[in-house]
């Protein structure tokens, strides 16, 4: 029998274990006690060593008394709010939307610490059932308010056959060292068409974690866009599962990091049946000593013939000290598929800079234009004009804020 070496636990882990025990999640507490938070030796956390990066966990969140101003307002959107894990009462839902609550978390259990922690701490889940196509953008405004808090919340969305919707999630809150652990579960019925955008606008002091699980049915089309533009430490995990013939995912994401920030988008996609396709496209822009990570795994099941999936990560380094890390993984068990991956990384093109400046555009403005151009491919497919404009605003804010 193998002897397990006890792991030395840090302050963050001690706090987590106590918090887990306080909510009765003994199994998860035991896991942390034995294994600790994942280090670089755990493959899926290789570039995001939580044991090193996550030094302290604030107290579990209490219901918030007040909320800060919304971080992102999209004209015409239907808004729902979850503050410190508590679902707030909402205005009348638009046609086709049924809003409800369920006890506990929503994610399917998997071997991942963030998924386990969310399951343990999320007390209730906001549920949305979209019975038919929904016109307005649905915005779920997730907040961490008040003193630094450990916040867990959860959202579950069912999209009926043939329905379409645009769902925006924004993460923000008071300026404190919050740790947010957010979960979203989304099931797309036959031929459903969904755009799901998640934008982290948390304060720099915060750590932001999100895990999004998608079940994409026959003929359904999913477009995602993850934007990391807030927390000092952020990681969004994407778990799309293509479950019916013709299911397609345009899984996209954007890391925007400045000096001292660490942002990670990790996708673990599963093509489970024949004739599904996906086009994961991620971009990272890093300034100063910012660090951006993209990991993309495509798992193609044995009978998932004719899978067509291409992963791409493009990095843009705006300084010599920036770090952009890219890890594509293909795990293919079928023998008749078209799968690929690619990664590029570079600086702003000098010829492009010369061209723009030779027209009288000052250097800094030319840089901004080129970075915006680099990112545009991700925002361009968003059809809702007000939403696209709001997203451009975030990108511009980041570019000008430096």
């Amino acid at each position: 029998m193998r002897q397990t070496m006890p792991v030395r636990l840090g302050a963050a882990e001690d706090t987590l274990i106590a918090q887990l025990k306080s909510v009765g999640a003994d199994a998860t507490a035991e896991r942390i006690t034995v294994a600790g938070l994942p280090t670089r030796r755990v493959e899926s956390y290789h570039y995001t060593d939580l044991k090193t990066l996550l030094r302290a966990i604030p107290p579990l969140a209490q219901a918030a008394n007040e909320a800060s101003a919304p971080a992102l307002r999209v004209p015409g959107a239907y808004q729902l709010m979850i503050a410190n894990g508590v679902i707030q009462s909402a205005s009348t839902a638009p046609a086709g939307v049924i809003v409800g609550k369920a006890a506990g978390g929503v994610l399917t259990t998997r071997d991942d610490v963030l998924v386990h922690l969310n399951g343990a701490f999320a007390k209730e889940s906001l549920t949305l059932t979209l019975e038919s196509s929904v016109d307005p953008v649905i915005q779920i405004d997730r907040r961490s308010e008040g003193e630094a808090a450990h916040v867990a919340d959860s959202l579950k969305v069912f999209v009926a056959d043939g329905a379409s919707a645009v769902i925006l999630e924004t993460f923000s809150g008071s300026n404190a060292a919050h740790v947010g652990n957010h979960a979203t579960y989304m099931a797309l019925g036959k031929n459903a068409v969904v755009t799901h955008i998640t934008v982290d606008l948390s304060p720099r002091a915060a750590a932001h974690f999100a895990s999004n699980e998608y079940h994409i049915g026959e003929g359904a089309k999913l477009r995602t866009l993850v934007i990391h533009a807030g927390a000092g430490l952020s990681r969004t995990q994407l778990f799309p599962r293509y479950e019916g013939a013709g299911a397609h995912g345009d899984i996209t994401g954007l890391n925007l990091v400045v000096d001292g920030q660490h942002a990670d988008i990790t996708m673990d996609a599963s093509h489970a049946v024949p004739h599904t396709s996906s086009q994961p496209l991620f971009k990272s822009v890093a300034r100063g000593r910012g660090k951006a990570v993209v990991q993309g795994k495509l798992v193609v099941a044995r009978d998932a013939q004719k899978t067509d999936a291409k992963f791409m990560h493009q990095g843009l380094m705006l300084s010599d000290e920036a770090e952009i890390l890219s890890k594509p993984e293909l795990e293919i068990y079928a023998d008749d598929v078209v799968c690929g991956h690619g990664s590029t990384c570079g600086k702003l093109d000098e010829d492009s800079m010369f061209y723009l400046t030779s027209r009288g555009i000052p250097k800094e403005q030319a840089e901004t234009m080129l970075v915006r151009g680099f990112i545009e491919e991700l925002v361009d497919p968003i059809e809702d004009e007000a939403l696209a404009e709001a997203l451009h605003g975030i990108v511009d804010g980041w570019l000008l804020g430096k």
Partner: protein
């Protein structure tokens, strides 16, 4: 005598260890169009890049005066504001930046640098529409990302459109005829000729005489091994076309 628009004095430039411009002297008075002809590799394009301020080149000697002011210390954007415009031989494709957005940014950046107010959107649209009409540029083309997927002719027309909108004092056209068929050449030349003006000078760089049938120069210079070796009127271009550059190489040597 009035100050010439452009005066280049004994200009030497190198890239890394290689000297490319070896003592260029050139004066273009206001209102004149000068052509520079020379074979590939003679340094013609380098001269155009050095005028526009590309960073790759080191100026080891000489000066460039624009309206009597030395521009060597200026960066490319400042030179553009001072009145230099380079129409690129190979315009750069900029994905994600709509042509219209770029035009507005360039016009307003120059206005701002000169202390003028920004153009209103209607004024901007009107200016672009008027200038575009002459060059057969429609609004669909302007909505596309800058130069991305443009045909050779579209790229060159877009360059001339920028020139028309930015109203430079000195237009430098680097091999504007390359990649153009006869029809496109006519449209582009017409656009250039429409910009000839008593207060504007042009430097047309080419290695074919063909372009100079359309844009008729006041003076033709022969460029060889990094300097001007012969100057004359437009007939010099015909002479070159007939005899080739060999005679002038001998002159240079």
């Amino acid at each position: 005598m009035t100050t010439p628009i452009l005066e280049i004095r004994n200009l030497h430039a190198r890239i890394e260890e290689r000297e490319i411009l070896k003592g260029v002297n050139l004066t273009i008075p206001a209102g004149q169009v000068h052509a520079i002809m020379g074979r590939n590799g003679s340094g013609k394009s380098t001269l155009s890049y050095v005028l526009a301020g590309k960073e790759d080149y080191e100026i080891t000697e000489g000066e460039i005066l624009l309206n009597g002011e030395n521009i060597l210390e200026m960066d490319p954007a400042e030179r553009a504001v001072a009145g230099i415009f380079l129409a690129f031989q190979y315009p750069i494709e900029i994905p994600g930046v709509a042509t219209m957005t770029f035009l507005k940014a360039a016009m307003n950046a120059q206005r701002k640098a000169r202390g003028e107010s920004e153009l209103s959107t209607p004024d901007f649209m009107r200016a672009v529409k008027e200038a575009g009409a002459q060059l057969n540029i429609d609004s669909d083309m302007l909505k596309r990302p800058l130069n991305v997927g443009f045909s050779g002719g579209e790229k060159k027309r877009a360059e001339i459109l920028q020139m028309a909108l930015l109203k430079p004092a000195l237009c430098v056209l680097d091999e504007t005829d390359s990649g153009l068929d006869i029809d496109a050449l006519q449209v582009v030349s017409k656009g250039v000729n429409a910009l000839r003006d008593a207060n504007r000078s042009m430097l047309v760089i080419t290695h074919y005489q063909r372009l100079l049938n359309h844009i008729v120069p006041d003076v033709v210079h022969v460029f060889s091994d990094g300097r001007i070796v012969e100057s004359g009127d437009k007939d010099l271009a015909l002479q070159l076309e007939a005899k080739g550059y060999a005679d002038f190489d001998a002159t240079a040597a």
